[in-house]
Every structure is written in C-alpha cells, then in structure tokens.
C-alpha cells in the first residue's frame, strides 16, 4: 500500500502552534506541571510527548516525566494483523499517583488508546489518565474521548491521515489522502 496525499492540513508552523496551545491546556487543566507524566505512544506519539514536555518545561521550568509505550502487546487485534516487531517500552518513573497524559498522533477507532491505558495500569495506579492527540479523525469504536485535540478532522472511512515529524521524517506536516495498492 502506498499513501497518496490529497491535501496538506497542517504545516510545520501549525504543528508548533498546536504543541504550544496543548502544553498550555495541559498546565491549565492540571494546575501546573507537578506530577504530570507524558507517555508517548510509539512511534510518533513519543516525539510529540517530548516536544510537549520541552514546551511545558520552557513555560514552567523544572522537568516533566516522559515515557515511551509500545502497545503491540496490548492490542485486541493481534489475531487480525500480522505481528510486527515490538518496540521498546520505557517508563522509568513510578506511575502511581501521577497525572498521566497519553500522547498520540492520530485518534481514530480508540483501540490503541484503550491498549495504552491497559499498559499504563500494569505499571501502577495513576491518579488520572488523560489523552492528548494531534489529530482526531473520528470513527470511534470504543467510548474514548481526547482531553486535548490539536485539530479535529472529520474523515471518511477510506481516507487516511499521514503525520510527518522531523525526528524521523523529512518535515513537520499533516496530510490527508488515500492508500492505494502499489
């Protein structure tokens, strides 16, 4: 399958603005940075979590916990998709009583978020779990709602959203398009 872009939704500046806004929202909702832990969902959620953490630190000073999560082992659809290489999960802090913010690039069916919550619970009992996403494209299959949304983007079922981040891609941008057989 090959992604064929139809339109660009966000450019690098847009993404930077979204990060800044969401960082402020997180601080506002949680009344400061104390006990906040950002847990990025692999792969791009991790980079977004790091960017958010850096922004929060710039605003408030101090440092924010950042964790990395690979949710492959918690998915409810392993029987459907081929097992791929499992990435490393790294949560070096105690999650008990933390205000954990799950960070992901695109919120779609909600199943990934469900898996991420299960994974976090296996590390302990956070005080609260919140969800921050860059794009919410609708089509939920489980009752999950994001607390912080960069951009709402109603899509049709066969449309796809592609998020590029400079950490692993060439640029920062979000595109919408279709996947086609090569």
């Amino acid at each position: 399958m090959e992604f064929e872009a139809r339109a660009q939704l966000l450019d690098a500046d847009d993404i930077a603005r979204v990060i800044r806004r969401v960082a402020h929202e997180i601080l506002e909702r949680n009344k400061g940075r104390d006990d906040i832990a950002l847990v990025g969902v692999r792969t791009r959620g991790v980079f977004l979590a790091r960017r958010l953490a850096r922004t929060i630190e710039e605003i408030e000073g101090g440092s924010v916990y950042v964790g990395e999560l690979d949710v492959s082992l918690y998915r409810d659809d392993v029987a459907i998709r081929r097992a791929s290489n499992v990435g490393v999960t790294q949560i070096d802090f105690d999650v008990n009583d933390k205000k954990v913010v799950i960070v992901d690039d695109v919120l779609f069916t909600g199943r990934t978020t469900r898996a991420a919550m299960d994974a976090i619970m296996d590390f302990g009992r956070p005080a609260v779990i919140q969800l921050a996403v860059l794009i919410d494209r609708g089509h939920r299959e489980v009752p999950i709602r994001a607390d912080y949304v960069g951009k709402n983007l109603p899509t049709s079922g066969n449309e796809k959203v592609r998020v590029s981040l400079t950490e692993i891609d060439e640029t920062d941008m979000v595109e919408v398009g279709e996947e086609r057989e090569r």
């Binding site: 392993v78 081929r82 097992a83 499992v86 999960t89 296996d122 302990g124």
Partner: protein, 311 residues
C-alpha cells in the same frame, strides 16, 4: 520463520532461518526483556492461546523458561513430560500428537531425544511447533538467547571471534550456535579433540583448534560446553583430568589473560572440569544473564509465531 504444513509458523532449526529472521527476533527480544522488569510482569498479547510443553527428555531450565515466557504473554500452558505421561508406557509420538491436536492447542514446544522429532511433529499436529532441543540436532532458542546475550554485552555480533569448546559432536547447542553465529557474520573456531568433533564439521564454515590455549587471547567470546563423564566410557577422551588439562578454563589460564573474553556456558556448569570454580564465580553474571535473556527471547519467539494471523 518457516511456514509449516497447514500454514502454521514453526521454529525448528536455526539452519532454516535467514539472517534477518535471527536479527529481528533479537530486536524484539529486547522489548520483551523490559516486560520482565515491571512489577506486573505480564502482558495480554497471547491471551486465549494455549501452549503445550511437550518434554520427552528431562529438562528443568528450558521448560521453566518457556513456561515463564508463555505466562508473561498471558498464554495458558500445559506441561506434558515423559515421566508423567503415557510416553513412558510406549505410546508413539504420532499418537501423542493426535491427542494434542484433539485438545485444540495453538503451539507445541517440544524437547525430544530424537533428532528431527519436531519436524516430524509438524506433519501430525495442527498448530505451531517450536523446537526446544532435538537430539544432537538443534536447540534454536538457546542459540538465539546466546546471541542476544552477546549482543547486549558486546554491542555487536558481526566480526566477533567466538570459540566453542568441548563436546561438539553431541551438542545441539553447538550446532545451533554455529549456524546462528555464521549467519550474523561472527567467526567461529571449534576447540575439541577430533574424537569429539562430528565428521566434516568444517563444511559448516568453521575453523578447528586442538587446545584451548590456541584460542585464548584471540577470541572475544569463549563458549564452554558441558562435558559428560560418559564420553570417557565411549573412549572420546581418556579422563576428565586430561580434558581439564587441555580444554578446561582453569584459574591459571584465566588469570594470565590480559584480554579476557566474555565466557558463556549453557549450564549447568561442571565446576572443576570445563571451568575452575573461581573462574566460574568471576563469569557467573554472564551466565545468569543468559538465563534471564532466555525468557525474553522465548517471549519474542512465541509472540512472533502466535501473535498474528496466519498468512
């Protein structure tokens, strides 16, 4: 991994894997190692899957390692070993296989004294088969965990110089390690008297040395195999004392070494025979590391075989 009959994925031998298969299992084992460090050492990845440990040869370590690996992935595990099963009553492997099929399991982990038994099982069962050691043939998960341990400690595999010392002829661990190490580009030298080397072993693209002194100072990894007393009765070598003299990692040899290699052993060690007790104490951390790596690696294997759809 190889697709077997009926589209089931199996792990039968390192010889049938390619380099990418090996490396991708090592990569994924790294992620699974993390699971074992959590307070809740369990993920739901294989929930609802049933795995049978079919052990027709005594083994505690490997069986426990597979059992832990399966349980940490939330699979259900049934143990079936020859001492408690009907195999000792003369039931054939084929009949046992049919019973397993009837139970509707997802994978069989098999340890068997006969080379080729796991391959044979793939014809008779309708599930994945994992070789946990078959006769003198292969012990693929041991080799993979050994490579994993080496890579974690030394940071690479390609170009490493590895010496394997001891009873190569009877060792499935040696065979699997030779295949695996050659695939990832390590150099391998086998150290043993010719009476403990299988015929034409050089065709496996390895070199041979006659005593341990020829490789000490050269090798980055020194892999000692367990030597068994019954080989003396088979006239493979004269005595354990003489074995130690020529092939033992003695305190004297060890203390003289400037560049000390990483020492590995599949366990359990014969202290005072292939390795002096004081040296064993020095290198114990690597060997217990091998054991810990075993669980992670076997989780990676189980997940790779069972954690996806077929085809």
């Amino acid at each position: 991994m190889k697709e077997g009959g009926g589209g089931y994925r199996n792990l039968l031998a390192i010889s049938s894997l390619d380099k990418d298969d090996v490396l991708s299992l090592l990569d994924s084992a790294r992620s699974f190692a993390e699971v074992s460090t959590r307070s809740v050492k369990k993920v739901p990845a294989l929930r609802g899957k049933t795995i049978v440990n079919l052990f027709m040869e005594p083994s505690t370590r490997t069986r426990m390692s597979f059992e832990l690996a399966a349980k940490r992935l939330s699979a259900d595990v049934v143990n079936f070993s020859s001492s408690t099963s009907s195999l000792s009553k003369g039931e054939s492997l084929k009949d046992t296989a049919k019973t397993i099929v009837a139970m509707g399991v997802d994978a069989v982990v098999v340890r068997h004294g006969s080379a080729g038994a796991p391959l044979m099982l793939t014809d008779w069962v309708e599930c994945s088969v994992i070789n946990a050691g078959d006769g003198m043939h292969e012990h693929p998960t041991q080799a993979l965990l050994d490579l994993f341990t080496i890579r974690e400690r030394l940071g690479r595999l390609e170009g490493l110089k590895v010496a394997i010392v001891g009873d190569i002829d009877h060792s499935r661990v040696a065979r699997s390690n030779i295949h695996a190490l050659r695939k990832v580009g390590a150099e391998v030298v086998l150290v043993a008297p010719q009476s403990l080397l299988p015929r034409d072993i050089q065709r496996m693209d390895v070199a041979v040395a006659g005593t341990i002194d020829e490789v000490l100072g050269w090798c980055d990894v020194l892999y000692l195999l367990r030597i068994q007393l019954e080989r003396v009765n088979e006239s493979r070598f004269p005595s354990l004392r003489e074995y130690t003299l020529l092939y033992g990692l003695t305190d004297a040899r060890w203390s003289e070494l400037d560049h000390k290699p990483m020492v590995m052993h599949p366990g359990p060690m014969n202290r005072g025979v292939e390795i002096d007790s004081s040296v064993a104490d020095d290198v114990e951390s690597v060997i217990t590391g091998q054991v810990a790596a075993g669980v992670a690696l076997r989780m990676a294997v189980l997940y790779d075989l069972l954690g996806g759809s077929h085809g």
